[in-house]
């Protein structure tokens, strides 16, 4: 769910960025367009103004010239004379012409006209002009002069087939009275076009031109080619007075069709504006010019010229930069978009692919497991199953996914009773978001059969939220069946074994008793027959009967011992003492070449045992050991001690269910021939024997007796090297108080607790010391050598009150340990114990702060004395 949210978020973010980008770019472009427009506008305005100023200057220079001519010394007289009503001679006229021509033509004018007050031409370059009425526009100009203007410029007009422009000035007498007029015909160099086609040009398509009130061009167009191709102009013709600046409605440059210029078209926007308002203006949105092309324009009406000055530039050219930038940006944007899209698609495809891969992998794993796996959502509905599930329970995927699992496969107990979902352990674990492992559940297959399963359920988390559980199970029906079968078989085997051994036992007993009875019966009959004849013989025989009977009694006792049901007379006994007392007896019953070695712990706790039975056990074990050695030379070792036995150890012993704890042990070790595993199984069976002689009851008796004392028996095998039998008898802690027979009545001190570290390489010694210390009220921890002791100390430093350590130990002697402990903690209290006498031992530690010393073997009193001394009489 989160993944989808993420993806959506990222997608919308990307879209947002693109939109923002587009928006920014559009904004930027709009800015650019405005900027360009403004730039074009500024340019056009400047040009427009420049042209106007240039034109004014042009006119002014013309005025200057005409003034010069009129008032020039040389010319003025001539002109004044010419204005005289009296006729001029041809010569006079010629001279006038010559003089004026010098001025006029050299300054690039095309001619002059001397005009009388009657508005008729008095003199010009041509004879034929004389007496002619001046052209209409010149008349208007004269009107203006008479109204007080200093000079008057006509608009271009056609004169004798040519386009002409006149500038006129009045010739006044010394009183300022006008006597006539002088006109100069402007040559090309003085006409508007000269200026408009130079100063009025900008860029490739920018031009300035003049129009009159009627929209007729008063100057030459720079863009004649367009007009010619549009059919509006003939090649070689001038545009002045030839072109009316109208809006053709379409772009003639694109579709040149001959349009009749009947004046039906409206003025161009610029002309319309300027002729109607006589106000300066501009347009940067674009309007059609006389070619029909879209232009930007600036215009003004010049009163002086009585004409409009219009400056235009093709919008296309002005916008060139803008269009270029826009196109490039659009292309870029497109690529960015495309790139982003491609990247996104690739990414999502990658994601999908990797997800699919992961899914595939996951599915592969799921499908390949032998275990059945299914997932459930928070409400217990199935979210997925694997193939093993379907195979095990015989469903199709569609029948399972989406269904409530418990209702489907776990709805009843094996006996058919309803199994409510709330009681289901899987369900409970699922609700509580814990794991569970059950081996006692059963699932129902589709066909209604039951399978026993071992199942595990694990909650599924996404982040901190539980979203369901995953349940795995195995069909253990076969397993169970096998187990049951095996159990049954074992029982049967045991049963048959028991029957067999019972048989053997019964047979043995019968056999032995039979023999004895035979002896008894035989002897009894001899007595009967000899009692009167030979009483002495009869007495012998009778004695033999008694003997046999006694033997039978012994046999019975052994039987009883084996059965463990004999009567025990329990007394508190120190086993080591028993062994010691039997020494002689044992020596006698073994072969000469066999030696017995004794490793007896004298201070064994007393235990409640039957003395005779203990003796029997020991005897049997030694005898057995002796027989194992089988006449060769060998060693039998007898060891007693105290040990702590844990459950795992006890599990390896022959024992009934007994608790772990403290045990006295007696160990009988031989260097005989040893046994193999099969023999071991059988040695405790009655009447089993590998010996030639013997009944085979000894070991079974031993086991029986040990068991009867809630003890345990362990056998260590080393085939070819020897055998060890070790039997354990439990120590009842509560009886400890009875156990030390040699202790003094002063008893031991009770201390108020603390932990003591006991370090000794001999287990028995450790155990005994621990027991003593515990009796004193301490807790103990042990170590079997100096190294271990050091590490134990480091671990429990804070709780250790003092250390009791042996002197001679492997891996780190007591002395070394002492040094190390003092290094760690100079305040550390160490009591040393050693077999050596005190002075010798302590000598090594003089001045080093040894807290105390006890000589081994030590009594609890001795130890407690030493402790008391060390702690400074602190109980």
């Amino acid at each position: 769910m989160l993944m989808i949210k993420n993806r959506f978020f990222k997608f919308s973010f990307a879209i947002g960025v693109v939109i923002a980008l587009f928006f920014i770019v559009t904004l930027g472009m709009a800015q650019l367009k405005t900027h360009i427009n403004t730039h074009a506008l500024d340019n056009l305005t400047a040009i427009n103004k420049k042209v106007r100023d240039a034109l004014h200057r042009q006119i002014d220079s013309n005025v200057v010239t005409i003034t010069q001519i009129i008032e020039g010394r040389e010319t003025r007289t001539l002109l004044m004379d010419a204005l005289n009503p009296a006729e001029m001679t041809a010569k006079q006229r010629f001279d006038l012409r010559k003089v004026l021509a010098k001025n006029v033509f050299s300054q690039h004018y095309k001619g002059f006209f001397l005009i009388g007050k009657n508005r008729k031409i008095l003199v010009s370059m041509k004879q034929r002009d004389m007496g002619m009425q001046v052209p209409e526009l010149a008349q208007e100009a004269i009107e203006r002069l008479e109204q007080g203007e200093q000079s008057a410029l006509t608009h271009p007009f056609v004169y004798v087939g040519q386009i002409s422009m006149w500038i006129l000035k009045a010739i006044t007498d010394e009183h300022g009275k006008s006597m006539g007029y002088f006109a100069l015909e402007l040559g090309n160099a003085h006409r508007f076009s000269v200026t408009t086609l130079s100063a009025g040009i900008s860029y490739a398509s920018g031009e300035t031109y003049l129009v009159n009130d009627q929209g007729w061009m008063l100057s030459e167009s720079r863009l004649k080619a367009g007009l010619i191709s549009a059919g509006l102009l003939k090649t070689g013709d001038a545009t002045t007075l030839n072109i009316q600046v109208l809006d053709p409605g379409i772009n003639l440059l694109n579709q040149p069709i001959a349009i009749s210029r009947t004046g039906q078209q409206p003025f161009t926007y610029a002309v319309e504006q300027v002729t109607s308002t006589h106000q300066p203006g501009w347009n940067t949105d674009g309007y059609r010019d006389y070619r029909g092309a879209l232009v930007l324009g600036v215009w003004q009406w010049d009163k002086y010229l009585n004409a409009a000055i219009i400056s235009e530039i093709d919008q296309g050219e002005a916008m060139q930069l803008y269009v270029y930038v826009r196109n490039v940006l659009l292309i870029l944007l497109f690529f960015v978009l495309a790139g982003t899209l491609a990247a996104m698609m690739a990414y999502s495809r990658l994601r999908i692919r990797s997800e699919r891969e992961a899914n595939r992998h996951k599915n592969l794993l799921l499908e390949s497991t032998a275990e059945a796996i299914y997932g459930i959502d928070m409400d217990g509905y199935c979210t997925f199953v694997n193939r093993s599930f379907l195979n095990m329970l015989g469903y199709e995927e569609s029948e399972v996914v989406g269904k409530h699992i418990h209702q489907l496969i776990h709805y009843a107990y094996p006996d058919g009773d309803d199994y409510p979902v709330e009681a289901c352990s899987i369900y409970r674990a699922h609700r509580e978001r814990t794991r569970v492992h059950r081996t006692d559940e059963s699932f129902w297959r589709k066909d209604g059969t039951l399978i026993m399963v071992e199942c595990w359920s694990q909650p599924l988390f996404e982040g901190d939220d539980a979203i369901g559980s995953v349940v795995t199970f195995l069909d253990i029906t076969e397993q169970r069946k096998n187990e049951i079968e095996r159990e049954q078989m074992e029982k049967q085997l045991q049963h048959s074994q028991r029957l067999e051994s019972l048989g053997v036992l019964a047979g043995g007993i019968a056999h032995d008793f039979n023999n004895l009875l035979t002896a008894i019966l035989g002897n009894a009959s001899l007595v009967e027959s000899n009692i009167l004849k030979d009483p002495l013989k009869a007495k012998e025989r009778a004695a033999k009967i008694i003997l046999s009977a006694e033997k039978a009694g012994v046999l019975c006792k052994q039987m009883l011992a084996y059965s463990g049901k004999g009567q025990f007379i329990l007394k508190p006994i120190n086993l080591s003492s028993i062994v010691e007392e039997m020494t002689h007896l044992l020596e006698v019953s073994i072969d000469k070449a066999v030696i017995i070695k004794y490793h007896l712990t004298s201070q064994l706790p007393l235990i409640m045992v039957d003395e005779a039975q203990m003796q029997q056990v020991i005897m049997n074990l030694v005898t057995n050991a002796n027989e194992a050695i089988d006449g060769k030379s060998g060693v039998i070792s007898l060891t007693t001690g105290v040990m702590n036995a844990e459950a795992p150890y006890l599990a390896t012993c022959y024992a009934d269910h007994i608790q772990a704890g403290r045990f006295i042990y007696v160990e009988v070790c031989d260097t005989g021939c040893g046994m193999d595993k099969e023999t071991v199984q059988k040695i405790f069976d009655p009447f089993f024997t590998t010996k030639v002689t013997g009944r085979g009851l000894g070991m079974s008796a031993v086991l029986g007796i040990v068991r009867g004392h809630q003890g345990a028996l362990k056998v260590y095998l080393e085939p070819g090297r020897g055998t060890t039998f070790k039997f354990l008898l439990p120590v009842d802690e509560s009886e400890y108080g009875l156990n030390m027979p040699t202790e003094q009545e002063t008893g031991v001190e009770q201390f108020s607790g603390g932990t003591v570290l006991v370090v000794d390489d001999e287990e028995t010694v450790r155990e005994v010391a621990c027991m003593m210390l515990e009796e004193m009220g301490f807790d103990t921890i042990t170590a079997c050598n100096g190294e271990e002791g050091l590490s134990m100390y480091k671990k429990h430093q804070h709780s250790i009150l003092f250390v009791l350590t042996d002197l001679t130990m492997p891996r780190m002697s007591g002395k070394e340990l002492f040094t190390e402990l003092k290094n760690i903690n100079p305040e550390c209290r160490v009591i040393l114990s050693s077999g050596y006498n005190s002075t010798e031992a302590i000598q090594q530690f003089s001045g080093k702060g040894l807290a105390g010393f006890v000589q081994k073997p030590f009594t609890p009193q001795a130890l407690s004395e030493e402790v008391k001394k060390m702690l400074g009489e602190q109980p």
């Binding site: 980008l21 920014i24 930027g28 010569k91 012409r97 033509f105 160099a189 930069l321 870029l332 960015v336």
Partner: protein, 275 residues
């Protein structure tokens, strides 16, 4: 966000590297005779090179030479050969012939209408020397001759005076009106009804009448054939002065002048192509 930065950088880069609409201006000055053609060819050149602008001025062949030598203009226009001194000061400049021209004596239409349509060189000389002052003296109406001369340093005068008066710097009648350019000359001749002048062959238009030369009894009109064949004696080449270190654009322009297209324009201008 990085892409937006990129965009702005790109935009500014583009704006700054955009080809600026700054045009190169080629300045030309000198003979007005050549100027007529130059204007045409410049216009034609601008069609294909909109980023090039021209500034074409007159001033005469001598002025054109001087300006070019001083490198105040890119191209000089001359309608005559170099003088000895000019050849010495030419330096690293080429004197390129671009067209062939003739100088034609012209009169106002009224003069021709009154009967003067041809002239002998000697008559021409007499008129210019001031010996003949009335049209009736050469078969025309009783009108005084309005004599028009060109400035001394003009190439057109150079050529005309050479042939008619025997020396390029020969003096003419003080009565003559001295004008500078062919345009002005055309203006006066067409504006007057009694003028005589001489102009470049290309300036002869409907406004003026070109006199045929009567040489040894034969009438030699100023036609293309006669000019080419040399039958028409008053002819000259038109030149441009091109410095060797001129910019590539200028060189390209001169190449254009000499190209087929450029030479076609020579004809359009009224001259003869240089072949």
């Amino acid at each position: 966000m990085r892409s937006i930065h990129f965009f702005w950088i790109l935009l500014s880069a583009m704006i700054f590297t955009m080809p600026q609409a700054r045009a190169e201006t080629i300045t030309v000055s000198g003979s007005t005779t050549v100027k007529k053609y130059m204007q045409l060819v410049a216009d034609a050149y601008m069609q294909t090179h909109p980023d090039v602008h021209f500034s074409i001025n007159g001033g005469g062949s001598t002025s054109g030479f001087g300006q070019l030598i001083d490198r105040r203009v890119d191209i000089g226009m001359m309608s005559r050969n170099l003088t000895v001194e000019e050849q010495q000061t030419l330096g690293d400049v080429q004197h390129v012939a671009v067209a062939v021209d003739a100088v034609v004596p012209v009169v106002s239409h009224e003069v021709q209408q009154s009967g003067v349509s041809q002239i002998t060189p000697s008559m021409l000389a007499d008129i210019y020397r001031g010996k003949i002052t009335n049209w009736k003296q050469v078969g025309g109406a009783d009108r005084q001759i309005l004599l028009v001369d060109k400035e001394m340093h003009r190439g057109t005068r150079h050529v005309f005076a050479q042939y008619v008066l025997g020396s390029p710097t020969a003096a003419v009648s003080p009565e003559a009106i001295t004008l500078e350019s062919n345009d002005d000359v055309v203006n006066i001749v067409s504006g007057s009804d009694q003028a005589i002048a001489y102009v470049s062959f290309s300036y002869v238009n409907a406004l003026v009448y070109g006199l045929d030369l009567q040489i040894e009894g034969k009438l030699v009109a100023a036609t293309v054939e006669n000019i080419r064949s040399g039958a028409y004696p008053i002819s000259r080449k038109l030149y441009v002065l091109l410095p060797n270190d001129a910019s590539a654009q200028v060189q390209a322009f001169v190449r254009f002048i000499l190209s087929v297209k450029g030479q076609r324009l020579v004809e359009r201008a009224g001259y003869l192509p240089i072949q």
